[in-house]
């Protein structure tokens, strides 16, 4: 099998087995209760999922309890490419099983990858083993009530004080705000936006959970309210003024690829349900899969998913090989896949008819979850602007 092996290949891999056996059975419960249950977190930890995407040198040894191998042939591609594709397969598998759980691993990797890239040796030694083992969960806190994609405008203030900083402000819509143990948080210093490592138990930090989200209810979203939260000097990540341009961007690039893979998985799950439904639902003396207008939807769904999957693979390979267009590819993959999953879940729901909007299929959950994807990690409109600027920069005037 090569890097661009068919996405329709159904050879078992360890992430797919983990996701289907240990995550998918809880998907409806997660949606209902808006929390990821401890047994799911334990299964992910034991399988090494919290270490996925991190440089192996930084991770503690982990024992995989599920399955025997991946679907990427490591003898044909460089190690870093195989690792990147294996990481993508994790997010694809989790996206199919529970978009909420994919989001938990996504923000863990977003914050963790920013720390792994821009942390000091001491910070990496202190935090990364606990993050990669899953003993601690990470998230990234950028958004504020008045600040979205323009991270450079953050209003949370960091005030230099003796031996550290005092942070005051409010972070909004933080995925895993009510779950993570450590936040990579962007606050403003006189030098500009700056990243800090904020432990959940820091005095002065209040977590305000957000209930009744439209979809991805297991994101355990919360606002973070900071009232003179004191952080020692060694909790500054990177350098003052580099929080938005370097630290946050590193996390966002990770998040965009992860989320794109998650969208492919979610779309595949919805599509497979719709395929089975089309084959078994009888109308006018035959299966509705024999009707050309249903076939049109199935053809669109299948092609859309395949195209998004290829973009994800290309983006993961580009990042692993440090290609110059890696950022553009990650952005395009998220841009395309997050819209694709909306189209696919809508058609899948349509194929189910009344049952697609009722309580007995996962279609409504898929549809609600899919609506989240175009909003987080950069809205479709913000990504369009970024892609255009990156593409324009490649063409001489």
């Amino acid at each position: 099998m090569t890097v661009f092996a068919s996405l329709t290949d159904q050879a078992p891999n360890h992430w797919r087995i983990l996701a289907q056996e240990m995550v998918a059975p809880f998907a409806r419960q997660i949606d209902r209760e808006a929390r990821v249950p401890p047994q799911v977190v334990t299964a992910l930890r034991q399988a090494g999922a919290f270490a996925s995407g991190f440089n192996r040198r930084l991770a503690l040894p982990v024992t995989r309890s599920q399955g025997t191998g991946g679907d990427v042939a490591t003898d044909q591609v460089p190690d870093q490419v195989a690792a990147a594709l294996d990481h993508g397969a994790l997010h694809q598998a989790l996206g199919a099983a529970s978009a909420s759980v994919q989001g938990v691993l996504n923000v863990h990797h977003m914050g963790g990858s920013a720390l792994a890239k821009w942390g000091s040796k001491a910070q990496k030694a202190q935090w990364l083993p606990r993050l990669t083992s899953g003993d601690m969960r990470c998230a990234i806190a950028m958004t504020e009530p008045q600040v979205g994609s323009d991270i450079s405008a953050v209003q949370t203030r960091a005030r230099p004080v003796a031996k550290g900083y005092a942070l005051t402000g409010r972070k909004a819509w933080i995925t895993c705000g009510d779950f993570a143990d450590l936040f990579v948080l962007i606050a403003s210093l006189p030098q500009g936006p700056t990243a800090f490592l904020l432990p959940r138990d820091a005095p002065g930090l209040t977590i305000a959970p957000i209930d009744d989200m439209l979809g991805c209810r297991g994101y355990m979203m919360a606002d973070l309210i900071l009232d003179e939260v004191f952080l020692l000097d060694d909790h500054l990540l990177g350098r003052p003024g580099f929080g938005a341009s370097h630290v946050a961007v590193t996390g966002l690039e990770s998040g965009r690829i992860n989320l794109a893979w998650g969208c492919v998985g979610l779309a595949q799950a919805a599509c497979q349900c719709a395929m089975r439904r089309a084959k078994t639902r009888q109308q006018f003396g035959g299966a509705i899969a024999d009707f050309q207008l249903v076939q049109q939807m199935l053809a669109r769904m299948t092609t859309d998913i395949h195209a998004a999957g290829l973009m994800c693979r290309s983006a993961s390979v580009a990042r692993a090989l440090r290609q110059m267009d890696a950022a553009k590819q990650a952005t395009m993959a998220k841009y395309f896949a997050s819209q694709m999953v909306g189209r696919v879940t809508r058609d899948a729901q349509q194929i189910f008819g009344a049952e697609g909007i009722g309580p007995n299929t996962p279609m409504a959950m898929y549809h609600r979850d899919s609506r989240i994807m175009e909003v987080i990690e950069g809205t479709t409109q913000v990504l369009e602007s970024m892609i255009a600027r990156l593409a324009l920069a490649e063409v001489p005037a």
């Binding site: 370097h246 961007v249 590193t250 090989l321 001489p396």
Partner: protein, 82 residues
Amino acid sequence: MSESISAIAAFMTRSFDGAEIAPDQDIFEAGYGNSMFSMQLVAFVESHFGIEVDADDLDIDNFRSINRVASLVARKQSLVSA
């Protein structure tokens, strides 16, 4: 060093719509540097020169001009080969 300077100059010229950048010209003062370019520059020096830019290198002076970036690359390469 001169090969590094040529490669960095070519990258900046490509990034700045064909503008010729003098080796000591301050690209931020000239209005060329923005947040998107900052990470592209990191990606370029890492991929082109096989070095790892880390937190210790996050000093705006390291990225201010072609010559400054070339000096950073030379320092990092000497650490790798040492």
